[in-house]
Each structure stands twice: as structure tokens, then as C-alpha cells.
Symmetry: C2
Subunit: 133 residues, 2 copies
DNA sequence: CTCTGTGCAAAGCGTTTGCAAACGA
DNA sequence: TCGTTTGCAAACGCTTTGCACAGAG
């Protein structure tokens, strides 16, 4: 059980119901688009404004609580900040699977000599196991 | 000297002046946004339409002649298709540097078991050598 | 109580579309 | 010549903005 209120406050943000709802829904879904996030929030509170979702995603991205996953020819997905990992993105069903990396991290450090790494975006596009059937 | 006309034709596309111009400019710049691409084309031919640029980038992406590089909180860049490589994207000056990978490729194959890889998007964000000064 | 955050409606802007004319093969 | 591509202008849809009101601390 994650204490989102504390996380928000320690980033200098007020723990509003809207923000708590956003963090909870992203966490439940793993990765989600703005639209789907809005739809989920709407189910709980139909007075939620799409503008509020946009504003908060931006705010929380700037505070590094939320990360954007830009995807080729599609809308961006958003996820909670966690340790670096790879995304396996299915071209067919659009599913996104997280994959941890260990050795890969070492390689990346070696590659990025003279480059101070802040964030890595490792997306692999292809066909997932399910869609191969 | 690359024969873009041949490449286009073998993809079933007509080798129009506009398309040849797009490919030449992308090749010269390495990575470029739609806007900058349009501006470069406009210098040569001021009757070029932005819609034509959009249409052709899409068409050539579908034929895998051009690849999109989606970037967090910024507009996408486009590059010519070449062997897989890493992008070092500077948070400060927005420069994009290509970096070849060898060992990394092996790791990726290992990670993506049961996943048929079609394209990898490896973007590392940080501060480039120049901007560290 | 004060300042931040929300909801609403309008504005903004990048991208797409439809169609007649131009062009490539 | 015939099908494809272009240029133009309008339409579209996602995202942002401004402002009055509500809510968190």
C-alpha cells in the first residue's frame, strides 16, 4: 500500500482527491493513456475535468512522479516512476509489458560515456506471445 | 551517394521531387522535426505544402524508409532507416547523437524471449558533453 | 485564512482530410 | 493516358489557457 498523499506532499504538491485518484489508477493499470485515465476517473466522479487530468499529469511529470512513454504512431502512455526497465510493446494488441534489466544497465553506462544519463527510454516493438497464436 | 529514386520505386512509390527532397534533407540533417523539414523544403521550393510533408512522412514510415523518434515532452524527430542504434538525447540543447550498439543487441534478444522483435527504440536522455561545460 | 488546485468554456495549434489540378511512369 | 501525388483550405481533435469558485493545509 503506497502512501500517495505523502509522496505528493514531499514533492510540494497538495494531495487532492483528483491527484490521489490519478496515481491510484495509473498504479492499478501499469500504463495508461490520458483518455483512458480520464474515463476511469469519470466512473468515480463524473464532474472531473479533462483539463485537470492534463494539468496534473504535466505537474507530476515535472516532479518525476509520473513518466511519459511516447509510442510510435500512437498516443503516449503514462506510468509511475520506478526503476528503469524495458517496455515490450505489441504492434498488434498494443499491450505493454515491463521487463527488468540488469546486465543491460551496465552496457548502457558503458555506451553513454561523456553523457550524464538522466532517464532511459527502452521500447521494443514487436509481437507479443499472445498475438503469435 | 544514395539513389533515393530507386529506393522509392522499389517500395512502390513514385519518385517525386518532393519525396526526393525529403529524403535528401533528412539524410543531411540526420534527425529532423516536421517543421524544420518543411522550412528546409520551403527554401528550395516555396510552393511546397505542409500537408504534403505530413502525407509523405506517413507514407514513407509505412514503407519503413523513414523512422519516427518520439521524444518525451517534445515533438517527434524523423530519421532514415538504418541499423539499430541508440539515441543520446540532450535535455539541454536537444541534440541527438547516434551510438552504435553491439553487445546491447545480444542482451535485447535475451530479454525479449517469446516476443518477436520488429523495431527497437532506445533513447537515453541526459546532458551531452558540450552542455556539461 | 491564504494560496493552490479545479472545472468550465474558449482558444490554440499541430495534423488530417477532400478535392481539383498537376505530375510521374 | 491513367493512377498517383500535390497544394490548398477547411475541418478535426488533442491540449492548453484564463478565470471564477472550491478545497487543502
Amino acid at each position: 500500500m503506497i502512501n500517495y498523499a505523502e509522496i505528493l506532499k514531499s514533492s510540494g504538491l497538495k494531495a487532492t482527491l483528483q491527484r490521489l485518484s490519478i496515481l491510484k489508477i495509473i498504479n492499478t493499470n501499469g500504463h495508461i493513456t490520458i483518455d483512458d485515465l480520464y474515463k476511469e476517473m469519470y466512473k468515480v466522479n463524473s464532474t472531473i475535468s479533462l483539463a485537470t487530468v492534463y494539468k496534473n499529469i504535466l505537474t507530476m511529470m515535472r516532479k518525476s512522479l509520473v513518466l511519459e512513454i511516447p509510442i510510435i504512431e500512437k498516443k503516449s502512455y503514462y506510468e509511475l516512476k520506478k526503476s528503469d526497465h524495458i517496455h515490450l510493446i505489441c504492434d498488434i494488441c498494443n499491450s505493454i509489458e515491463d521487463k527488468d534489466i540488469n546486465d543491460l544497465g551496465l552496457e548502457i553506462n558503458r555506451v553513454s560515456n561523456n553523457f550524464i544519463l538522466s532517464h532511459s527510454q527502452l521500447n521494443l516493438y514487436g509481437t507479443c506471445e499472445e498475438c503469435q497464436k
